[in-house]
């Protein structure tokens, strides 16, 4: 063993582990580790610890701090702004945020089916899924409105009256049909149902909703099953580990008890005859 490297020279060992030794010093430590089993075992153990340390990573935090210098004369304190957790809109340029806002508003308006009209009666704003009634769907209004109103668009000021009357008639028909029973509905009202855009739309919405719910249910069930399986398997691993530790402890305790019994037997045995 070299006189420059001894078992007590832990500084050398640490420098060796972290590769901060010169060639000559490293060669001496290598030589020592080749000859000294205890130091070699310690070096291997510390290397394993370093390997384990490599697996410890901090959480993948969403950072994004920015500094904002003071601009006002009264406030001379700069600030380091902390980003909000999750999404950070402050990182988007102003124009991008404006475009996003316009898109959101446009999408909202299209979903709400917003209609703005301006006529002799003033400004009219309508929303919802109710489309203007077609002439075929509004036979009840034929008497109340001139024949030309079906082909020529009515003036804006009177347009809502026939539409309202048609809707009322349509609703009355549907209520009547519903009251007359399922058979009557099947026999007598499919045409009126098919002709009602509102009912068609409602049916579509219900169908879509049911489809979504079925998909969601299937997804949840799959996810639940998977979570359950993961939890079960992780529990099994933990239980196995727990048993392993318990067995280790129990074994150590048994060995200790055995040693103690041996000791008691030894000291309590009568002295051998002289």
């Amino acid at each position: 063993m070299s006189e420059m490297c001894t078992c007590d020279d832990k500084d050398q060992l640490v420098a060796y582990l972290y590769g901060e030794l010169g060639d000559e010093a490293r060669r001496r430590v290598d030589e020592h580790l080749r000859l000294c089993a205890a130091c070699a075992e310690e070096a291997a153990g510390l290397t394993h610890v370093r390997n384990e340390l490599a697996g410890w990573a901090p959480p993948d935090a969403d950072l994004g701090f920015t500094v904002v210098p003071a601009t006002r004369a009264v406030d001379r304190t700069p600030q380091v702004l902390r980003p909000p957790r999750g999404w950070a809109p402050a990182t988007l340029p102003v124009w991008a945020r404006a475009v996003a806002a316009v898109l959101v508003v446009a999408a909202g308006l299209s979903i709400a089916n917003l209609q703005v009209r301006y006529g002799a009666e003033g400004l009219m704003v309508t929303t919802g899924w109710m489309a203007r009634p077609t002439p075929a769907a509004a036979p009840a209004t034929a008497a109340a409105t001139p024949p030309s109103s079906a082909s020529v668009p009515a003036p804006v000021s009177t347009d809502w009256r026939p539409a309202l009357a048609a809707l009322e008639a349509s609703l009355r028909e549907e209520v009547q049909a519903a009251r007359s029973g399922a058979g009557a509905v099947a026999a007598g009202t499919p045409a009126s149902r098919d002709n009602s855009p509102t009912m068609q739309r409602v049916s579509e919405l219900i169908e879509q909703s049911e489809r979504r719910q079925r998909q969601e249910l299937a997804l949840r069930l799959t996810q639940f099953g998977r979570d359950l399986e993961v939890q079960r398997r992780s529990d099994l691993v933990r239980i196995n580990q727990g048993f392993g530790q318990f067995e280790g402890r129990a074994g150590a305790e048994i060995a200790r008890q055995r040693q103690m019994l041996d000791y008691i037997m030894r000291v309590s045995a009568p002295p051998p005859p002289q």
Binding site: D11, A15, E20, V49, E52, G55, R82, R226, V230, V237
Partner: protein, 197 residues
Amino acid sequence: MAWTDEELVARSVAGDADSFNQLIHRWERPIYALAYRVIGRDEDARDVVQETFLRAFRALPGFKGQAKFSSWLYRIALNLCRDWIRRQKRTPVVAAPEGVDVIELASAQGPVESIEDLVARNQLSASVAVAMQKLPEEQRTAIILKEYHGLTFQEIADLQGCPLSTVKTRLYQGLSVLRRDLESQGLTRARAAERAS
């Protein structure tokens, strides 16, 4: 072309806040990682990062470049961590569930890693974190600076304000305690055997 730290510092001193924001972008993650590992709490580590850059920005005109900018930041962050630990008056504890939520991790698992491996790796990481938090602050900081930030013994000595031999002693003692701790849980030996097989 990417500016060096020194160039960005010079531009920041001249009043260019964007340059300082580039410095933040470059160094916020290492500083966060350092703070998180030293004090063991995500939210407090974020506070340390924020305060570190705020102090650095305020003190920038006085920074003459005697040390590397990164070393200067590390020093500020470590002082803040030390203050935080003093305020806590107790050993910080890493929230183990952050690292051992097996369900959450399992849902993000890759196809090549079994659930058992995932759980084992995750528990191992949590065990390392907890074992690290049991170390004295000086030993823990020395190990963190060496293992995760690759500083030299001399740089760590400068940051910790101690002789170089003290740094080596802290590293040796810290690693030895960690080794005993992890081996008592049957971790390093089991892993070593796995690797050997």
